[in-house]
């Protein structure tokens, strides 16, 4: 845990606000460390881009004879790769000018942004599932399994009941949350009753959920009629999350994600249960002495975390996939772990982290397609960012950041 002192209240004499701001900017607060981690990851990513391109690498073999060639080629490659990453995540200026001149449509101009939000929506939920549990002192590795169960429950509810519009969607979402909650409740209960470590139980339940889904999709009544491969029936239109359609895949899920983030923030910081879970998270023994039922908190907390991950799975099925397949949940549960780490286990931080990861994925697709750089590079970038965040001392050492508290107190820290 890094000290969070971005806004130190200590009065400082004879110092302008700007000075304080600048000094705090270069101190090791969490925002600076996060930003610098991203910068470092991008730099290492650039090196990897060059190393992985044999044509550019070949130019380095005669570097001393004509360095311009190698540098030129590297710069072209790196800049076009990162330009495509940004264009694919936020928008292509070309598409905007096409729209203005009437050559293109507004849908095409906003498509990259829509992709970013589409990828981010489920990650917000799974990220919250991990970070909320973590605040209660539980390491929820089971977001993947919970999300898979959410997919299953939401998908099955989506094509079974045939309820009228709106109601059908609500029922499917609730089913998804309940499915995930069940998969979170089990390890919570085991932890509370028997002390079984939640890391082990949730990992094992991930496998169970994955195999259950693979089995379920080829059963009669679930499998899509007329298909012999592993794909389920399609979710009824009334149960799908409303979307613009066509190129714009973004759906209501991202709105739900923001609302849920607000809800989790309230639960954590304002509600009685939130206080209990934070108390249990920081010291279960003290919490028990203070009269908080640790067992009850663990069980309820895991069920809620499971429900959040289940909602993530539900948005995936009801928002983008529309049918169950063995890998419908993709990697959203495990990405949720990274998102929670990057968001420092705070609800709003998790939301921002999920948006960043969504942007990287959306941009990565374009980068792969246009520049021909493997999508794995995006995974490497994500991992590097998280590694640097998990090792703040490294970032501090590289950039020689001041310790945050010392800077805030106005004590001139020893140089370096």
């Amino acid at each position: 845990m890094t000290a969070e002192t971005a806004t130190e209240k200590e009065p400082v004499e004879k110092e302008t606000f700007l000075n304080v701001f600048l000094r705090n900017l270069w101190s090791s607060n969490s925002v600076t460390v996060t930003a610098l981690s991203i910068v470092l990851a991008v730099i290492i990513g650039a090196v990897l881009i060059v190393v992985s391109d044999s044509a550019v690498l070949a130019k380095f073999s005669y570097f001393t004879a004509r360095p311009g060639d190698a540098l030129d080629a590297s710069w072209t490659l790196i800049s076009s790769a990162y330009a495509d990453l940004v264009k694919g995540a936020l928008g292509d200026p070309q598409a905007f000018s096409d729209w203005m001149s009437g050559a293109g449509t507004w849908q095409n101009a906003f498509a990259p942004l829509s992709e970013t939000l589409t990828y981010a929506a489920p990650l917000v939920f799974t990220g919250l599932a991990v970070s909320l549990a973590f605040r209660g002192g539980l390491f929820n590795i089971g977001a993947q399994g919970q999300a898979v169960l959410g997919c299953v429950a939401a998908g099955v509810a989506g094509f079974t009941f045939g309820l009228p519009i709106v109601l059908n969607l609500i029922v499917a979402l609730i089913a998804g949350a309940l499915g995930g909650a069940l998969w979170g409740f089990l390890p919570g209960l085991l932890k509370a009753r028997t002390g079984a470590h939640e890391v082990i139980t949730t990992i094992m339940l991930n496998y169970t959920a994955g195999l259950f889904l693979a089995w379920l999709v080829i059963q009669q009544g679930i499998q899509q009629p007329g298909r012999s491969d592993a794909i389920s029936k399609v979710v009824a239109e009334s149960a799908q999350l409303p979307s613009f359609g066509g190129v714009l895949r973004v759906h209501l899920g991202i709105v739900l994600a923001v609302l849920t983030t607000a809800g989790v923030a309230w639960l954590l910081n304002r509600s009685a249960f939130g206080f209990e879970l934070r108390a249990v998270g920081s010291n279960p023994h003290a919490a028990r002495t203070a009269g908080i039922s640790v067992a009850k908190t663990y069980t309820l907390l895991m069920a809620i975390a499971g429900a959040l991950a289940g909602l993530g799975g539900a948005t995936q099925v009801l928002g983008t996939a529309y049918a169950l397949t063995p890998s419908v949940a993709g990697n959203i549960g495990f990405d949720g772990l990274l998102v929670a780490l990057l968001g420092r286990n705070r609800p709003w931080g998790t939301l921002l982290a999920a948006l960043l990861f969504g942007a990287l994925r959306a941009g990565g697709n374009r980068m792969q397609s246009f520049t021909g750089i493997s999508l794995e590079l995006v995974t490497v970038l994500q991992a590097l960012i998280v590694i640097f965040i998990a090792a703040p001392a490294l970032v501090k050492a590289i950039f020689r950041l001041r310790a945050a508290r010392a800077a805030g107190l106005g004590v001139s820290p020893a140089k370096g």
């Binding site: 005669y62 570097f63 001393t64 012999s228 794909i231 993709g330 397609s369 246009f370 021909g372 999508l375």
Partner: protein
């Protein structure tokens, strides 16, 4: 501390610099080729491929399809090839759309699971030409490529039953999915046909066609699992084994190699003596599913400006060599000449329809 650390860093940099300099002092090429390198002909035909979640190196249909595009590229200079890998199913649509944006002339989707995404994007972009492997057509601008693999597997079953000395043959799959079980269906039928024809009782271990149930490794890469399963099949008496499990099947080949000639293997997808040459001496034959050729031909056709008609599309059969039984390679002298003639006749009979090779997983 500081100066020491500083010197250390300088030393490391210097050492690294020297190494780099030594590696980098080759001569510059005489003249710089045009930037971009790969952009060859002016009117290039862009063939673009989206893999399914198996990725480009799956040693199965993604790899074969890409090899097909590469082969077409080697045959015609105006073809420009590109691919993207999908890491999850949510990537199918953006992958296809990105290629529409780049104005690809031929957009290939690999695998039946991409059917719905392909249909959606193809309907939106009626001006682009799509193609899909292992799925039926979903629109006038989608060229489907499917394979009646059970026909070739039928021959393999007949061959195995005829070659077996123990009167038992075995098979197992990687996963219980149609592209796998279609091999096992054909294999079981081929053995049954042999029994009926010759009045024998060769048994198939590992697959029951009527119940559609059998042995599966649940993996396409785990060689040890393949070994264990094969050892079980061998201990039950099987002496010819058909593993339909990608890399897992290499475990079977290892068991066969260790048996010093008692057990032989029928390989799948691509001729084993090419795709797993180190085990060539245990491969009786291979049930070939020629994704590569089908893709290559369709790309070559498209590049020549011919229309790729959505109906009937392409169905690989014994007749058009889309599926086939590979040569016997090192077993050529060991397979009875009579059996070879019977196989040739059986192939003709399947093509003419006198013998029916059917499977629930066959393309319709």
């Amino acid at each position: 501390m500081r100066p020491v650390r500083g010197k250390r860093i300088v030393a490391i940099l210097a050492a690294g610099g020297l190494t780099l300099a030594a590696a980098a002092c080759g001569d510059a090429p005489a003249d710089t080729p045009a930037a971009g390198g790969s952009s060859a002909a002016a009117a290039a035909y862009k063939a673009c491929m989206v893999t399914d979640t198996g990725g480009i190196d799956d040693k199965s249909f993604n790899a074969s399809a890409w090899a097909g595009i590469q082969a077409a590229k080697a045959g015609a200079s105006n073809i420009d090839a590109k691919y993207v890998s999908s890491s999850s199913e949510a990537d199918y649509e953006p992958g296809l759309r990105n290629f529409v944006t780049q104005k690809c002339d031929y957009i290939l989707a690999v695998g039946g699971l991409m059917g719905d995404s392909t249909k959606k994007v193809a309907t939106e972009s009626a001006g682009s030409q799509f193609a899909i492997v292992d799925s039926g057509s979903s629109g006038a601008n989608v060229y489907p490529m499917q394979f009646a693999t059970q026909q070739a597997a039928f021959l393999a079953g007949y061959l195995a039953a005829g070659y077996s000395k123990s009167g038992k043959v075995g098979t197992y799959g990687g996963l219980k999915i149609p592209p796998v079980t279609i091999f096992m269906d054909g294999f079981a039928d081929g053995v049954a046909y042999y029994n009926q024809k010759k009045g024998k009782t060769v048994q198939v271990l590992g697959w029951d066609k009527a119940k559609q149930n059998g042995t599966f490794a649940d993996s396409f890469i785990d060689q040890n699992k393949g070994k264990t399963i094969t050892q079980t099949l061998v201990s039950q008496g099987a002496d010819v084994v058909l593993p339909v499990a990608g890399g897992t099947g290499l475990g079977t080949a290892q068991v066969a190699k260790d048996s010093s000639g008692k057990v032989s293997v029928i390989w799948v997808d691509q001729d084993g003596c090419k795709s797993a040459a180190q085990y060539c001496d245990v491969f009786l034959s291979t049930v070939v599913k020629n994704v590569e050729e089908a893709v290559k031909e369709s790309v070559a056709k498209g590049a020549k400006g011919e229309k790729l008609a959505a109906t009937p599309g392409y169905i690989g059969t014994l007749e058009n060599d889309g599926v086939s039984l590979a040569p016997f390679n090192q077993f050529d002298s060991k397979v009875d000449a009579g059996l070879k003639t019977e196989l040739d006749q059986l192939k003709k009979d399947i093509i003419s329809g006198t013998v029916k090779a059917e499977s629930a997983s066959a393309p319709k």
